[in-house]
Each structure stands twice: as structure tokens, then as C-alpha cells.
């Protein structure tokens, strides 16, 4: 029993949930952000059809992230959320707008341009808010007596704005490469052109965030650049370079799936970089995963279920994606 450490296992599971969220909801938020770039009619309809059957399940991973944090790291949950209060509210409202507008745009063709705009605004707000939250976390949160002790705009800084933009740009790249897989004709050609530009922007943004992070805290600097771990951490930028190369190559070759996978790989590497900087903190510089952990019995009770249920969830989610495989049509979906 004592041979494995529950908080570490749970930190890993939650990292998985957050990354699953980024993988799945990232592309549909990205499609939302790119929406104004697509021409009305066929292009927009194809784009929406490609995400309509799956966005609901995708968003559930966000609930899993929030719910999981409350269940197994309640202290972290109750510090991070008040600290990023306006961001969380903005993100939630953005998601409310976007989710509702998906349905409404089919129900109400007369006001479709309005609902399309709502989709874009909602998706952008949600993506930027998520990005700023990551920045706010990295730059540190003021904690006293196990509670948030800062003001309600402490999260706002040039660095957090940079991460906000970076995530929105990255999601757009996921969205564009997803459209390459799922659509055909003019929509696909359009998505390819967008993916090329967004690829450049994403790599730029990733580079900027990576370059700025070590200067936030000396601890981050040491973690990335001190011997001997630099031999390990240096692999991350190396892999980023390889993935970037493969991404542009596959785009040029007209591949359909590889660009999306490479965009995901870039996200994964960014995410690993984030974990390298933060671990073992849950709230950087103040609360570790062990400080934040719920009692052993709570974590164990959840783990018993998670071990059996998460593979099952992945199985039927995979099946649902399989049912809707291939190119989407342009007609309405119900």
C-alpha cells in the first residue's frame, strides 16, 4: 500500500485529464476562433458539422479536471479558483455562449450570422482565459494560511497575457489541422493556408513563453539549465524542433492527418515543459501536491473507480469518434 504514492498518481491522472481536454476541446475551440476566416455557407457548415457530435464529450474533460481537483486536491482547487476568479467566470460564460450557439445556429437561419459571431467570441474568450490561467499559475499565486491572499486582478501581467495569446493561437492551429482531416474542397484548402500561418505563429508563441518562463523564478532557471538535468530538459526543445519540421513538411506534402498529430505533439511538449517547471507544486512556490492532497481514503476511493472507469470512457469515446469518422457533409446534422 505504501509502495505507491497516491498524490503523485492523482497528479498524473489529472495531468492526463487536462491534456485530454486540450487534445479534444482544443480543436473545437480552435474551429470556433477561426470561424470568421471561413466563408459563410459550405465552409462554415462543414466546420460545425465536424465538431457537432463530439464537442459535448470534449468539454466533459474540463469538468473532470475541475471536479477531480476538488475531489483529490481540494486545497489547490480552493486557492486557484478564487485567484483566477474573473478568468474562470469569463471562461465559463464563453463556454455557455459557444455551446448554446452551436444549437441555435441550426434552429434559426435568419440570425445565423449572429450565432456564428457568438461562437467565435465565446471560443476566443474561453481559450484566452485558459491561457492566462496557465500564465497566472506559472508566475505564482499569493497564499497565506492556506488561502488565496491576493487581489482579484493579480493574475494580470505581460507574461500571463503572452500565455493567453499563445494558447489561443495554438488552439487555432489545432482547429485548422482538424479541418484538414474532416473537410474537403474549398474548406480544406482554406484550412491548409490557415494552418501554415498558424503553425509559424504557434512556434513563435511557444518559443516566447519558453524563453520567458525561466526568468520568472530562479528555481525554474535552475530546473531547466543546471547540470545534469539540462541533458534531459534540452530534449524538449530538440523534440519541438523535430515536430515543427515534420509539421511543415507534412503540410507541404498534402498529408491530412499528420499535421494535426504534429500540432498535438507540440502541445504535448509544451505541456511537458509546463510540468517540468511546476512539479512538484500544485500552486507554484507555495502548495505542493502533498500539501494539497485530500485524505488518503478520499483519494483511494476515487482511484478505485478511476482505474476501471477511465479506460471505459476512453473506449466509448473512441467508438463515438469512430462512428463519425471520415469527411463530413455540408448539410445540417439532425
Amino acid at each position: 500500500m505504501a509502495s505507491f504514492d497516491l498524490p503523485t498518481i492523482w497528479a498524473a491522472i489529472l495531468c492526463f485529464a487536462v491534456f485530454a481536454y486540450v487534445v479534444m476541446d482544443g480543436f473545437d475551440l480552435g474551429v470556433g476562433i477561426l470561424f470568421p476566416a471561413l466563408s459563410p455557407g459550405e465552409e462554415k457548415d462543414q466546420a460545425i458539422n465536424s465538431i457537432a457530435p463530439v464537442w459535448d464529450g470534449n468539454e466533459t474533460w474540463l469538468v473532470m479536471g475541475g471536479g477531480g481537483l476538488l475531489a483529490v486536491f481540494p486545497l489547490a482547487y480552493s486557492i486557484i479558483l478564487p485567484a483566477t476568479y474573473p478568468l474562470m467566470i469569463a471562461m465559463l460564460l464563453g463556454l455557455v455562449f459557444r455551446g448554446a450557439a452551436f444549437e441555435f445556429r441550426w434552429r434559426d437561419p435568419r440570425h445565423r450570422p449572429l450565432w456564428d459571431l457568438v461562437i467565435t467570441v465565446g471560443s476566443t474568450v474561453a481559450a484566452v482565459a485558459q491561457g492566462i490561467t496557465i500564465g497566472a499559475l506559472l508566475q505564482g499565486i499569493q497564499v497565506e494560511n492556506n488561502a488565496y491572499a491576493g487581489g482579484w486582478l493579480d493574475w494580470l501581467s505581460p507574461f500571463s497575457c503572452l500565455t493567453g495569446i499563445a494558447v489561443a493561437v495554438g488552439y487555432s492551429l489545432l482547429g485548422a489541422t482538424w479541418l484538414i482531416i474532416k473537410t474537403e474542397g474549398s474548406c480544406q484548402r482554406h484550412a491548409r493556408r490557415l494552418a501554415f500561418r498558424l503553425g509559424l505563429l504557434t512556434v513563435l508563441a511557444l518559443g516566447a513563453v519558453s524563453a520567458a518562463t525561466p526568468f520568472l523564478y530562479y528555481e525554474y532557471w535552475r530546473r531547466w539549465f543546471e547540470m545534469p538535468q539540462v541533458l534531459l530538459t534540452a530534449q524538449v526543445p530538440l523534440l519541438v524542433a523535430i515536430c515543427t519540421g515534420l509539421f511543415f513538411w507534412s503540410l507541404r506534402k498534402g498529408r491530412e492527418v499528420l499535421p494535426f498529430l504534429m500540432a498535438l505533439a507540440l502541445f504535448l511538449l509544451g505541456f511537458i515543459g509546463l510540468c517540468i517547471s511546476i512539479f512538484p507544486y500544485m500552486v507554484p512556490r507555495s502548495i505542493t501536491i502533498w500539501d494539497a492532497a485530500a485524505p488518503h481514503s478520499s483519494q483511494l476511493f476515487m482511484l478505485v473507480g478511476a482505474v476501471f472507469i477511465i479506460p471505459l470512457i476512453l473506449a466509448y469515446t473512441g467508438w463515438a469518434y469512430w462512428v463519425f469518422r471520415g469527411k463530413v457533409g455540408t448539410e445540417g446534422y439532425h
Partner: protein, 476 residues
């Protein structure tokens, strides 16, 4: 101090607003998912087109309602942290895992199969599609199971210990936590309420269309099914509600006394106060109309049984009596009105006037939204009745909130009100517009062929197609 108090009040208003708005949609989708499951099952069993027509008719409505339930629910899973961080830290080790199980066993199940249920009719076989519908319906029930377990634990906490940090931690058996004393009653009462709410919504829509055309086959079928639900389920619900009330009297007597408006103890049997204006300052109900002994008869099943009064309890443990008193009466009144409709429909059915009695149908249309009002009223009764605690008797609401400045909460509350009014206002408008369209009268077999896989569907089958088919945008 004043500022802190304001922030708490604003946070409460915000939570009450978002949770009430949210609750409307699951109350509908729990019932509607089961109704869809029954319709599709009946179609597969009998092969009668009317069931498939109705399935497709209500599926479009379900899609809109469910989507709004999801987005308003995501908000709640984060609001515990944004507005109630102290509560989250303290109660997280208990309620967190329960909500975690809700996500893992219910939300993913619903969302995973919803896509296939809504858009996969032409992509998977009939059996798999029916299975997907069942999974969505089952998911809505599991979701209710876990979240009501959480809510019940906050009302009647059990199976916990309090550690040195003041956190509630599991005390041994999770069984005791999940099946805490009020949970079985609350689960039955709430899920039944969701079924009744849906039944009356369906009945109201059926009646609306029967008033325009009493020969509409789809409208007749849905009205008939809804009225059977009213006959059978309403009495069951009244009994379940009574038992739930007895359970509450045992564990939360103050709440029941507030519901009854009993300020003073009644050593010789309590009256049943029908109406009046509760006044906390004076600790009495003004202008009351009461029936002697009936209160004790209902609550103790003995007219002479003594009951305590609110004044037996410290005043700082009272909920706001007037709100609880009135919301309870609204819920009960609607319950009996539902029973009346059920009995009326039974009489009309025996006289073979179910589809032609315009009086009954008008009444059913008026009662269409009644379930939603009753559900919200019941929710207010139990939640306001729990005040001034979040974890009953142990953690006060005033000590549960986040260390936030009042302006931050005020601004976000305003944003929620504006956004919810716009988004859910539009959503409800679209729902009503869908409901205003009559169910299609054609009873032809729904073709189980793809309807938007380009080039496969012959034009003739689109023309003959019943509701939903060949009408991908729901324009009809």
C-alpha cells in the same frame, strides 16, 4: 465586516441564480431521456411509425434542452471553487469524490453517447442506436444519483470525522456517506418530480396541438401517454413527498417548522396553516387560516401528537421562514393540481372524451410548465430551509465563502444575469418554437437510410419521410 457580509450575500444570490437556471434543464432532460427511451423501445417492439415520429419530434427538443443543461452545469462545477472556496476546502474530501464519480460515471456516459443518439441514426444499426439512447437516459439518472447524494450529505451529514484542519474527512465507510439519512427520500422525490415535470410538459404540448386538430395522431399519443403518467405517478409522488417530509422532521426539524410556519410549540397537536404571512420579528404568522390538529396528523400521523415550535430553537439557526413557507405551499398546490388533472383525464378517458374535451386540454396546456415551477419551488424549500448552514448544523454559510471582494462578486453576478437571460432566453424561445410545430401526421415507417450521406437517399423517401427525416434543420 459589512463588506464581507455583502460578498457572502452576493455569492449566495449568484449560486441560487445559476443553480435554479441549471436545474430547469436536467429536470426536463432526466424525464425526456427516459421518455425517448420508451418511445424508441416501443417503436422497435411494435414497428408503429407514430412512435418513431414522436421520437424524432422530441429528440430535437431534447438536443436543445440538453445542450443548455450541459453548459449551465459546467458553470456549477467551478462555482464551488470560485465563490465557496472555504466550503470546498473543508467539505471537498467528502463531496469531491462523489462529484468526481458523477463526472466519471454519468457526464462522460451521457456526452459520449449523445452524439450517436442525436446524429448517428443513419450511421449505426437500430439496436446500437437504441442502446445509445438507453445509455443517455441511464446517464441522466446516475447523474441525479450522485449529485443528490452530495446535496443530501450537506443536509444530513453522516459517516464523517473532522480533522485538525477543520476538514470533513471520510470516517470509515463510504456507504454511510453516500446513503446518508435523507438521500433515499430525496432521490425518489426528485427523480419522480423530473418525470412528472416532463410528463406535464409533454401533455401540455400534446394538448396544445389537440386543441387545433383533435385528429393529430402524434398529439393524441403523447397526450394519452402523459395523462397516464399523471394518473399513476402523481399519487406516488405525493406519498413520496410525505415520507420525505417525515424524514426531514426527524433530521432537520427547524426546516419543517419553517415550512409549516409553526413558531410556537404545539403541545396538544399542531394546526395546519393553509395561508398567512410569516413574520420572523414577531415570531408569528399574521392573518393565518388554519385547520386545528391537521398539522400533527400529517407530520406525526396522530392529531394530538405534540410538535415543537421555532421558538424552541436558537434564532440564529432559523432559515428565512417566509420564503420556505411560501415555496412549500406553491409546490404542494401544484402537486394537488396535477393529481386533479390526472383524475379528470381518467374520467374523460372512460367517457371516451380524452381527445375531444377542450376544457381538459386547456387545463393541460396551463399545467404544461407547472412541473418546472414545482421543481424550483421544492428546491427553494429544501435549500433555503437548510440555511444558515451549508453543511447542516456544522458549517455556516457565512463561513463557507471565498475571500473575495464584493465588487468582484457583484460584477460576475451581473455578467451571469445578462448572459443567462440572453442565452437561455433564446434557448427557451427556440424550445417553445419547436414545441409549437405540430407533430407530423404521416404514420409511415421511418426509413432507416442515411439522410445526409450525399446521393444515397432517394427523393421519394424524403417526401414520405416522417418528422425529422429530410428536414435536417428542423424547419418543417
Amino acid at each position: 465586516m459589512i463588506e464581507q457580509l455583502d460578498a457572502v450575500l452576493l455569492a449566495r444570490v449568484q449560486f441560487a441564480f445559476t443553480v435554479s437556471f441549471h436545474f430547469i434543464f436536467p429536470a426536463f432532460s432526466i424525464g425526456l431521456a427516459s421518455y425517448l427511451m420508451v418511445l424508441e423501445g416501443l417503436w422497435l417492439k411494435t414497428g408503429r411509425g407514430v412512435y418513431a415520429n414522436l421520437y424524432r419530434y422530441w429528440l430535437k427538443i431534447f438536443a436543445v434542452g440538453f445542450g443548455m443543461g450541459v453548459v449551465s452545469g459546467v458553470v456549477l462545477s467551478y462555482q464551488f471553487g470560485t465563490n465557496w472556496s472555504v466550503f470546498s476546502t473543508k467539505a471537498g474530501p467528502i463531496i469531491g469524490p462523489l462529484m468526481g464519480y458523477e463526472v466519471m460515471t454519468a457526464f462522460f456516459l451521457e456526452a459520449g453517447f449523445l452524439g450517436v443518439m442525436l446524429f448517428g441514426i443513419s450511421k449505426v444499426g437500430k439496436g446500437l442506436h437504441f442502446f445509445s439512447t438507453c445509455m443517455v437516459a441511464f446517464g441522466t439518472f446516475i447523474s441525479a444519483f450522485w449529485i443528490l447524494s452530495v446535496n443530501s450529505w450537506m443536509q444530513t451529514p453522516a459517516g464523517f470525522e473532522i480533522n485538525v484542519d477543520g476538514q470533513f474527512v471520510p470516517g470509515g465507510s463510504w456507504w454511510d456517506i453516500i446513503f446518508n439519512p435523507s438521500f433515499p427520500y430525496r432521490l425518489v422525490h426528485t427523480v419522480t418530480a423530473a418525470y412528472l415535470t416532463t410528463a406535464f410538459a409533454v401533455g401540455g404540448v400534446g394538448a396544445w396541438h389537440l386543441l387545433k386538430d383533435s385528429t393529430n395522431v402524434g398529439a393524441r399519443k403523447m397526450f394519452s401517454m402523459a395523462m397516464w403518467m399523471a394518473v399513476i405517478v402523481t399519487p406516488f409522488q405525493i406519498i413520496a413527498g410525505d415520507l420525505h417530509g417525515l424524514n426531514t422532521l426527524e433530521h432537520q426539524p427547524v426546516k419543517v417548522l419553517a415550512m409549516e410556519g409553526d413558531y410556537d410549540p404545539s403541545p396538544e397537536g399542531a394546526p395546519l396553516i393553509l395561508f398567512g404571512l410569516p413574520d420572523d420579528e414577531a415570531a408569528e404568522v399574521r392573518y393565518k387560516v388554519a385547520i386545528p390538529k391537521l398539522g400533527s396528523l400529517i407530520l406525526k400521523h396522530d392529531p394530538n401528537a405534540p410538535l415543537p415550535g421555532l421558538t424552541d430553537f436558537p434564532r440564529d439557526e432559523w432559515p428565512p421562514v417566509a420564503i420556505v413557507f411560501w415555496s412549500f405551499r406553491i409546490m404542494v398546490a401544484i402537486g394537488f393540481a396535477m393529481l386533479a388533472i390526472g383524475v379528470w383525464s381518467l374520467v374523460a378517458r372512460r367517457r371516451r372524451k380524452l381527445y375531444t374535451s377542450t376544457k381538459l386540454q386547456r387545463a393541460a396546456v396551463i399545467m404544461g410548465p407547472a412541473g418546472f415551477v414545482a421543481v424550483i419551488a421544492g428546491w427553494i424549500t429544501t435549500e433555503v430551509g437548510r440555511q444558515p448552514f451549508t453543511v447542516y448544523g456544522l458549517l455556516r454559510t457565512a463561513e463557507s465563502s471565498s475571500p473575495l471582494d464584493a465588487p468582484a462578486v457583484a460584477v460576475s453576478l451581473l455578467a451571469f444575469i445578462v448572459v443567462y437571460t440572453a442565452v437561455f432566453g433564446a434557448g427557451i424561445y427556440y424550445l417553445l418554437r419547436l414545441m409549437a410545430q405540430p407533430p407530423h401526421r404521416g404514420e409511415s415507417e421511418p426509413p432507416n437510410v442515411p439522410f445526409h450521406a450525399a446521393g444515397i437517399t432517394p427523393a421519394s423517401s424524403i417526401e414520405a419521410a416522417p418528422i425529422g427525416e429530410g428536414d435536417p434543420h428542423g424547419k418543417l
